[in-house]
Assembly symmetry: C2
Homo-oligomer: 490 residues x 2
């Protein structure tokens, strides 16, 4: 354990979010920034173990929905990127270029993949023959590279990050759009129901699309500093890329047609940032149950309980990941340490308690101690009573985190009727709902006004928005066609 | 399914190994070589699913042995590589260099990691403080890059491959050597006991070490063409790298000392090649039970058995990965297809059989059909009888593969007393045992003679060799100090 991790978290999340986040990353030993590669992280065991669990869960979801796993090359020839001009334009400024192998200079430089459309879709062109092959759904777990010129921040923005990218080809636009909706569902299942991260899925304005996409849909989560952070996005690539890379199929009518393509890119390392930010408190991390590297920690208060601790561990490890803290620290230090590390359940094993047939459990979801007691008329050993309680808590745990997070989020979505109201709501750290003229090119000027005067962005419209737009656009006063959401971002 | 996979394997493994391997890779849809990045593969679902299982198994083994998972940056500044001159010399010719980010030329070029010593050990220098921190054991799952100038072959040698690298720092040379022995044990557990790959672990000669290592130990598996293929290697890096990267610790005596470092690099994609090669036959692949993407396939012979097939699937999926082949192919085509794909157990579900309370099982380990029958006096449904049988077969399956593979391997290790005998044994595709003068620099000349005259290499000595060297070196006639093994390689 490093010296840093011996200190607790001293910054307050609500007062100095930035410092709080930095302390969490360092003191919980999630990532080390001291390598000499600028903008790159070293991901440490406590984050890697959680992110590996995240990968496993998301890959299972994608496989169940019919996606097959591939590993595509990390290097992509420049000519592939040039085939789709908008995509190239969007990504070129941030491509890392490989120009030499040993001492040999390559005739054509190779891109370190910033994303893999341009290496995957040419293969779609080879693999897909007829309507029978569609939908064709693939994914890969991969590290991707972007030469970010903005300031990097651990997990949130770095020059190498770890994600899954999902790509698919469809025979009709409708089928492709159903895939986009499936991606939104996947995001809901994964980010909200398993990880407890609240977000809104937006249809992005025309001027804020993925390079080369017909339409982009993206999830925004909200940080305590009032800035939104873009989480997974899904894109109707439509037929642009299939024309560029010749992805055709023979339809039932015998005609050759271009496929409709969609893609979706959940960045595991960035989603992990939202896990930290959403649930963490001034004591430290709080892991949702399913991804906690260690789900239960046993603290032996006295040396004499070692045998009991080992017995209990053997029982618990059948239902949860568990470890015993045998370190030399005082019990109080151990309590603080494991609360900081975000372990869901702590079991304090003391001799006096055991003599009274009691075991104390601390649960991090509610930051509360509770005592399991074996009454005299019960034959079961106390371990079994604790085990049952762990099972119960494990089922409530993430639900409690979700409830708390949803409440915070809902309170921060506000409505505004004028630019003045938007301004003051944004200052309070809100996502602001208002009437707006247009998400197409016409609306960009109004968005620029908002950006210039308030420093906030039009994030888009909600697909399942229940309210109807009424009256005028808050900026230009023309008739409002949309209810949009406005927020600050990084 | 592609047209290729509709053809069976036509080449004979024992007659034309190279063509057989190419057909397996293509027709079983393991990898596609048609991307336009030279020397790079697209790994397809059937291999990725197996390799993901391999990762999971090996990571669990390493974690149990006290290694913690990290993700280090893929890019390494050139100056890091320059710090250890031997290492640099060994790897420079095959480094891919990143020179630009967007349009900006970097002041210092960055290497795409060929291996990660030079980015990990500087961090060891930061993280390790005292003897209490030792041993310090880390691993990472990673893709690595080598600009190979030799001909590439799928899984066996390509410019990007997928591996795990394990690194550790120790307080004494003895402790470091125990780690090397642990790596050998890990290799035995993983490659032999789980994957069924026979190999010999060699101490490599002085002239065939990992660049920068004091000593290299490596496993050689044997291909049917009589060539060995190097599998995981473990290296006593000793104190060379700890001096170069300043990896010191305060010992119990209060003195600052350099750590002893070891590393170990099992290449998952290359080990997968040995899985294919060791167990595959002229019908196609044979997967060891634990890593088969699909462990059981159900073939409904008649359309009327669909309900029964689904019932059976639901029962089997609790103990194995299972799918039902509902495709339009004839049963015979399905049989051939799944035998080629190497699925361990096939269940042929026919109406006539079911009426007689019988179910036919085909097991790929023994290439044999057997029939599960429910006799009249048994109350259990036939599905439960099949389920029990699957459980039994799953336990024998890999053992049968191991038995077959070990027998083949043992028969191909031969002894020789002269260069003539070596030559004829090598021509028969053997690994040849003989007396040899020295593994240190003195012996290199004799090794060169063998290479020149026979085209074979001295692979090293076995650590647990039972025989004692006796008499003279087969080449120079000086006193023999070792029993070495000689073989051809790629």
């Amino acid at each position: 354990m490093s010296k840093k991790s011996q200190q607790g978290i001293t910054a307050k999340k609500e007062e100095n979010f930035s410092e709080w986040f930095t302390q969490i990353v360092q003191r919980c030993e999630l990532a080390d920034l001291r390598s000499n590669v600028k903008g790159f992280l070293i991901f440490q065991p406590w984050s890697v173990l959680a992110m590996e669990k995240m990968y496993k869960i998301l890959e299972e979801i994608l496989q169940k929905k019919g996606h097959k796993p591939y590993w595509f090359p990390t290097l992509i020839p420049e000519k592939n990127l040039k085939k789709e001009s908008e995509h190239l334009g969007g990504f070129t400024p941030e491509v890392f270029w490989v120009t030499h192998g040993g001492k040999k200079k390559f005739e054509e430089k190779l891109a370190l993949r910033p994303t893999s459309e341009t290496i995957i879709y040419p293969m779609f062109g080879i693999w897909i023959r007829s309507y029978n092959d569609l939908p064709f759904k693939v994914y890969q777990r991969a590290n991707v590279f972007r030469y970010e010129t903005k300031a990097t921040r651990p997990f949130l923005r770095s020059r190498e990050f770890h994600w899954i990218e999902r790509h698919s080809a469809h025979s009709t636009e409708e089928d492709a759009f159903n895939q986009v909706k499936e991606d939104m569902k996947t995001t809901e299942e994964f980010l909200h129901d398993i990880l407890g991260i609240p977000f809104i899925f937006f249809k992005r304005p025309e001027w804020d699309k993925f390079s080369g996409a017909a339409r982009t849909f993206a999830a925004d989560a909200l940080n305590p500093d009032g800035k939104v952070i873009q989480q997974p996005s899904t894109h109707m690539i439509s037929q642009k890329f299939s024309r560029a890379f010749d992805v055709k199929f023979k339809d039932k009518d015998g005609k050759d047609k271009y496929c409709y393509i969609t893609c979706y890119g959940p960045a595991i390392s960035r989603i992990f940032a939202s896990v930290i930010i959403t649930h963490g408190d001034n004591k430290g991390l709080k892991f949702p149950w399913e991804i906690a590297p260690t789900q239960v920690v046993i603290i032996p208060i006295d040396k004499k309980v070692k045998q009991k601790a080992e017995q209990l561990k053997r029982k618990i490890e059948k239902i949860a990941s568990v470890e015993i803290d045998y370190s030399d620290k005082r019990p109080g230090e151990k309590f603080n340490y494991w609360e900081m590390k975000g372990v869901p359940i702590r079991i304090d094993l003391g001799l006096k308690d055991l003599e009274k047939n009691r075991i104390t459990i601390f649960r991090r979801d509610l930051n509360r101690k509770e005592i399991s007691v074996k009454s005299k008329d019960v034959k079961e050993p106390i371990e079994n009573i604790v085990l049952k309680r762990i099972k119960e808590i494990s089922k409530e745990f993430t639900k409690n985190l979700i409830k708390q997070a949803d409440k915070v989020f809902e309170n921060r979505v506000k409505e505004a009727k004028s630019i003045k109201e938007i301004n003051s709501a944004i200052k309070e750290g809100a996502i602001v709902k208002c009437n707006f003229c247009s998400l197409e090119k016409d609306g960009e000027k109004c968005a620029e006004v908002i950006e210039k005067e308030i420093g906030a962005e039009v994030r888009g419209t909600k697909l399942d928005e229940r309210q109807k737009p009424s009256g005028k656009c808050v900026i230009c006063g023309k008739e409002a066609n949309h209810i949009v959401y406005i927020a600050k971002s990084y």
